[in-house]
Symmetry: C2
Subunit: 253 residues, 2 copies
């Protein structure tokens, strides 16, 4: 509650979305970003533009099970009714999982202590219920999962991840991140890569996954990942994994 605007509350919202039908999180000309769709609904409810602030943007095609955003608005009817009002006018591909009032010092992005992403690979032919939610790798030569696990052990920890970012040109921003968890688990044809860090750069998870798959293909030794960390130079070994395998699972506060 802000003492200068006593009616205004900060609302923290947890949401899930299927990224396929949208142009990513961040507002776009044309209005088919997830942010645009939610802000359009808020405008219907409150009669004016209300900006929402997410923990971070997700790219076109990336999914979320635990994205967090906040906004400030005067609403007297409690969080459950606000959630119902929001849900009522949103496409089913966006789910508002919870709404709660928070103090004005909470910020979805700046208060975040870390994030967990999950990425799914599917090895071999995939049915239509898997394809929209995984990177389907159909090649005959199976991926070497043990080599990928060795690679993950090299990448884990606090490093300069510049080589796994989409950055070009001279160093400008801080590219050191603490990759607290990078875990590969296989169950049958399904491989899950869990990545948790204090923060991720633009396309960093998809670049880590792409490099690990290059290792799994035998085109890069696990030790090659150490070289990428040390030189900070992105090479063609760092392919960008396709977006539909990626889920923003949880934001930690």
């Amino acid at each position: 509650m802000n003492p200068e605007t006593p009616n205004i509350t900060r609302w923290k919202c947890l949401c899930a979305y299927d990224g396929a039908p949208f142009d990513g999180w961040q507002s776009q000309r044309g209005g088919r970003a997830i942010q645009d769709v939610i802000e359009a609904r808020l405008k219907e409810i409150f009669g004016r533009l209300i900006r929402i602030h997410a923990s971070g943007r997700t790219d076109a095609g990336v999914h979320a099970r635990g994205q967090v955003f906040h906004f400030d608005a005067a609403w007297k009817h409690g969080p459950e009714k606000l959630r119902a009002a929001l849900r009522g006018g949103l496409p089913w591909q966006i789910q508002i999982k919870s709404v709660r009032a928070v103090t004005a010092d909470f910020h979805s992005r700046f208060s975040a202590k870390g994030k967990l992403y999950l990425y799914y690979l599917h090895l071999g032919d995939a049915d239509p219920f898997t394809r929209p939610y995984a990177w389907v790798i159909e090649r005959v030569q199976p991926l070497d999962i043990e080599a990928m696990k060795k690679g993950a052990a090299i990448l884990r920890g606090k490093h300069d991840f510049r080589a796994f970012s989409a950055l070009n040109g001279p160093p400008r921003e801080d590219t050191v991140r603490d990759l607290r968890r990078l875990e590969i688990t296989r169950r049958g044809a399904r491989v899950r890569i869990a990545a948790e860090a204090d923060g991720f750069m633009y396309k960093m998870v998809r670049s880590l996954v792409g490099a690990l798959v290059t290792v799994g293909e035998g085109k890069l030794a696990p030790d090659g990942l150490r070289e990428l960390l040390e030189t900070g130079k992105r090479t063609i070994s760092v392919q960008t994994a396709p977006p539909q395998g990626l889920f923003l699972e949880k934001v930690f506060y």
Copy 2:
């Protein structure tokens, strides 16, 4: 191999599809039935109309993990190349899982000894990855799963299922089916209903599921299902469950 047309082989195909973007299995004016899409691809491969014959039609919105169809065509390059040719030109929502040559006495529909369908309910709020593949039941009062299991025990076995068909008017066709399995399993918010029989009538699985949900809601006692079997009269207790929860899982030969 037909001795009169020595070049013609009968091909048995196993396929999976997401029912959402199509107008059901059976050929439609406008051509957005699954049958139309596959026949259009066969026409591209063989240069002429080739009719396909499925184990049975599925309604608009119903999914399949194990639909079977067959067709007759002259093809010299073996089943794997035929499968690749078919797959190459189909939308990803239709997967050709296998192709094999069978004898001319095989018929997808008439040779079938039984079918297994799975139906998924989701209790409570559902995320966007569940909604397209389940009947989401959000009401506050939870379903009485034990009552539904009692109801399933009454429905199992060989009965006249006329009350669970879409038939109107005087009895004309045989409406006795052997429901060998009707099994309800719950895991958290997810309820799975497995139905296996020697055959199913039009909308029969969705009618069985709808009636079981009516029982779960407490609007019909399990014994009410016995009465439906005995009178053969469909009542409002027999709602038709929505198509997106239903999967044709397997056809037995």
